[in-house]
Amino acid sequence: MTQAVRDAPVAAARRFNLGAVAPFLALALICALGATANGRFLSFDNITNVFARSTFIAAIAVGETLVITAGGLDLSVGAMAAFVAGLEILFLNSGLIDNPTLLIIAAMTLSLGVGALCGLFNGLTSTIGKIEPFIVTLGTMGIFRSLLTWLAQGGSITIRNNDVRAAYRQVYFGDLFGVPYPVLVILGVAIVGAFILYSTAYGRHVRAVGSNEDVARYSGINVARVRTITYVLQGLCVAIAVVVYVPRLSSASAATGLGWELMAITAVVVGGTRLKGGVGRVWGTIAGALILEVIGNIMLLSNLVSEYLIGAVQGAIIIIAMLAQRGLARGR
């Protein structure tokens, strides 16, 4: 008993968690660096551009945060995005609905449905089939990407109707009171994600399952159900990213979403979520996604480093982030 009392001040000090703040500090630092490197960095256009471009990874990474917090992993998100985008464009080209607005709304709904189903497939295969999520999603990653390539016959699928294309462009390029829609999407997804993870009973179960599956099971929590739902939510997040992505290029090809899974996982880990589960940081993930995009942006704006090295820099970031996490953990 005395031990516990003695631990108390230390625990209270620990409540201010550097790990939770670190990604935001890093983001601020990198932004300051960008501002000194190039004056145009802080321009309104550039900032909104960075936000808009990071929407896809940010939205997907929020889903990945839930999956990883529950002790899972989803490698199929990039391929899933390409597959969902392909289906959405095929639907837009089908001309089943004459009114462009209604057609777009129907296409978006279809995307969300398909995303959720893809996620459900991942979830059920890994939980009921009792297969490592790494393997399951490695498999579906190949399946989704190949399906898209087949649908596109090796080429690309493009929105053919110009009216539809023009109307849909608003979703990516439009704004509400000056705030671009993609920024609103990031905010919305993050708020909902954080709400689910931190405020709901389900979110608590997600953390418990990732923290210690046995304890969750012995506490009467349906571990398979909790995990499966995280994959469904992940599928929805991918679909949301797709819905915003399609109007940007109006096209999908075998190269769509290539490497997004790695960027999403990087954003999650950089944001302070623990890769082995139990601790999830939704807002940290958003910061992580922004860090990735800002660094790419700075490299484009300045001539310090060749932009061909973006992948190397992003790869270095994930390693540095892990080392920093390790350092913070050791300080405990």
């Binding site: 008993m1 005395t2 031990q3 516990a4 009392v5 003695r6 631990d7 108390a8 001040p9 230390v10 625990a11 209270a12 409540r15 405020s199 709901t200 009973a201 389900y202 608590r204 179960h205 953390r207 418990a208 923290s211 210690n212 046995d214 304890v215 969750a216 099971r217 012995y218 506490s219 009467g220 929590i221 349906n222 139990g278």
Partner: protein
């Protein structure tokens, strides 16, 4: 021969030596050791001498500083003040590896084995026997086998540790520590998850070490055991040394008094008369795949039913299968109505809960806060729509801290930062959130100090008094005899028999548990 309440005969050890009459050479000496964490000192000015061929027991309540002292003596911690002497010369231990190199080995309380490796692989981890470039598995298995045989239990040394019971793992861990050449052996609660048979073997092994001149430090909550094996006893309380005395001069009651600093009330609460109502839970012909066959029993409202048996008898497996935590089949009836419980949730909904023996890895989320742990199984009670009502949770935690006397200074503590006793109380509180009608508690007092034990027994009695049915699974026969109305004994996956009332003696239980009248019940010594 059977002596139910005083199972261990302190004077029955012929090897016992009077350290004052025949002082051996001091091997390890602590002079004025203190250790502070931040501003608080958890160990102050503790001195003691450990001699070769002597068993020196350290006793004290949780938080008394025993673990800190052991960690300093084994190189895991450095003292903030004071000196450590080895063979009379001051020594600064650079770490546990340095300590081992100097011949000081620590047998950890927590089981620290790689679960996917076998006993033999674990035992020789980092110092594997080789033949040329290849590992000599045969030699390592043989030596591991010999080491395990010394405990008198037949344990396969070539299957992953994961598949072994906790007691088998604990023995493997002890064998692993002792495989290092050593002059000082420190045992930290080595018998916490052992049954009497293995405990007896372990104490025998300790006497062998002693005969070979090894200096032994022994920490245990089981005072009878200390009484049986120790030559010298040092009592710690609140980080300070209270006394060092020859063990022969102390009875378990004296030790308890010194530890707590006051007279303990009776350890066990007064027993209520055996209830006679219609059974709440009835189990018939129940089997747990690979562990238990054809188990039938029933428990009445207000009754405390014990489950005894040797390690591997299938007690835990029976109840885990009953609650859908592992594969099993058979008839379950609650108030006469047939039940099927495919998972723990189903049992909980019906009003039946199981408290795992493995509270650290299956019972509590050690890295989470107390309130989260408290409400995890009964989260539906704390929901407002999809939301968790934090204020209601905080209130529930305050209530649970009051009711179960969970001693924490700060309610924001993480579960893993509390002592074992407090963790057990929290686990109890967590399951009582479900307001169950049948409570199954597996090893309710493993690794917790005597004060907390006494409280747990009272909580168990109170649950029964409220009309709940309580099932206690325990390897400590004395506690089953102390609190239960009736004890079911298991052997090799089957129910071997049942004892009740005056017939509940250690001897009777051991006869049922082993199937032979070995006379073990007469005492561990």
């Amino acid at each position: 021969m059977p002596e139910p309440r005083e199972p261990i005969e302190p004077q029955s050890d012929p090897n016992r030596q009077d350290p004052l009459a025949r002082p051996a050479e001091p091997v390890l000496e602590a002079v004025g050791l203190s250790r502070a964490f931040g501003p608080v000192e958890v160990l102050s000015d503790v001195s003691l001498v450990v001699r070769g061929g002597e068993v020196h027991a350290i006793i004290g309540e949780n938080g008394a500083g025993k673990s800190t002292l052991m960690k300093i003596l084994s190189g895991h911690l450095t003292p903030t003040r004071g000196v450590l002497k080895l063979d009379g010369a001051p020594v600064a231990l650079a770490g546990p590896v340095d300590a081992e190199r100097r011949g000081i080995v620590l047998v950890h309380q927590e089981i620290m084995l790689a679960a996917d490796l076998t006993i033999a692989e674990n035992m020789f981890l980092g110092r594997e026997t080789r033949r040329g470039l290849a590992l000599d598995d045969r030699a390592m298995n043989r030596r591991a086998n010999e080491a395990m045989r010394a405990f008198g239990v037949d344990t396969p040394v070539d299957v992953p540790v994961e598949r072994l019971s906790i007691a088998q793992r604990q023995l493997a861990q002890i064998a692993r520590a002792l495989a290092v050449p050593h002059r000082v052996a420190i045992f930290d609660e080595p018998t916490a998850s052992l049954t009497p048979v293995e405990t007896k073997a372990l104490l025998g092994l300790i006497r062998d070490l002693k005969a070979r001149g090894v200096a032994i430090l022994y920490i245990s909550h089981r005072l009878e055991e200390v009484n049986a094996v120790a030559d010298v006893v040092t009592v710690l309380r609140d980080g300070k040394k209270v006394a060092t005395r020859p063990a022969a001069e102390l009875t378990p009651v004296d030790m308890a008094r010194l530890m707590v600093g006051r007279d303990l009330l009776a350890l066990y609460p007064p027993r209520s008369p055996a209830p006679s109502g219609a059974p709440t839970l009835e189990v018939a012909h129940f089997g747990a795949e690979g562990y238990v066959e054809d188990a039938s029993f029933a428990v009445r409202p207000g009754e405390i039913l014990g489950f005894s048996g040797l390690v591997g008898a299938g007690r835990t497996e029976l109840f885990e299968a009953l609650f859908g935590l592992r594969k099993g089949s058979g008839e379950i009836r609650l108030d006469g109505r047939p039940q099927t419980w495919p998972d723990a949730r189903a049992g909980m909904r019906a009003g039946v809960v199981y408290l795992t023996e493995d509270r650290k890895s299956k019972g509590l989320l050690l890295e989470e806060e107390l309130s989260l742990n408290l409400t995890l199984a009964a989260l539906d009670k704390y929901r407002r729509g999809p939301l968790v009502d934090r204020a209601k949770e905080a209130k529930a935690l305050d209530a649970a801290i009051q009711r179960f006397d969970i001693r924490v200074g700060d309610t924001n503590l993480l579960a893993g930062q509390m002592s074992g006793g407090n963790q057990q109380k929290l686990l109890l509180a967590k399951m009582m959130e479900l307001d169950p009608r049948v409570v199954v508690i597996d090893e309710p007092t493993r690794g917790i100090d005597i004060g907390a034990k006494q409280q747990i027994y009272r909580f168990i009695a109170a649950m029964a008094a409220e009309g709940r049915s309580v099932i206690v699974i325990s390897s400590e026969m004395a506690e089953l005899i102390g609190v239960c109305h009736r004890i079911v004994v298991m052997r090799n996956g089957r129910i071997a028999g049942e004892v009740a009332g005056e017939a509940m003696t250690e001897h009777a239980i051991v006869v049922l548990a082993t199937g032979v009248d070995t006379g073990i019940g007469g005492g561990v010594a």
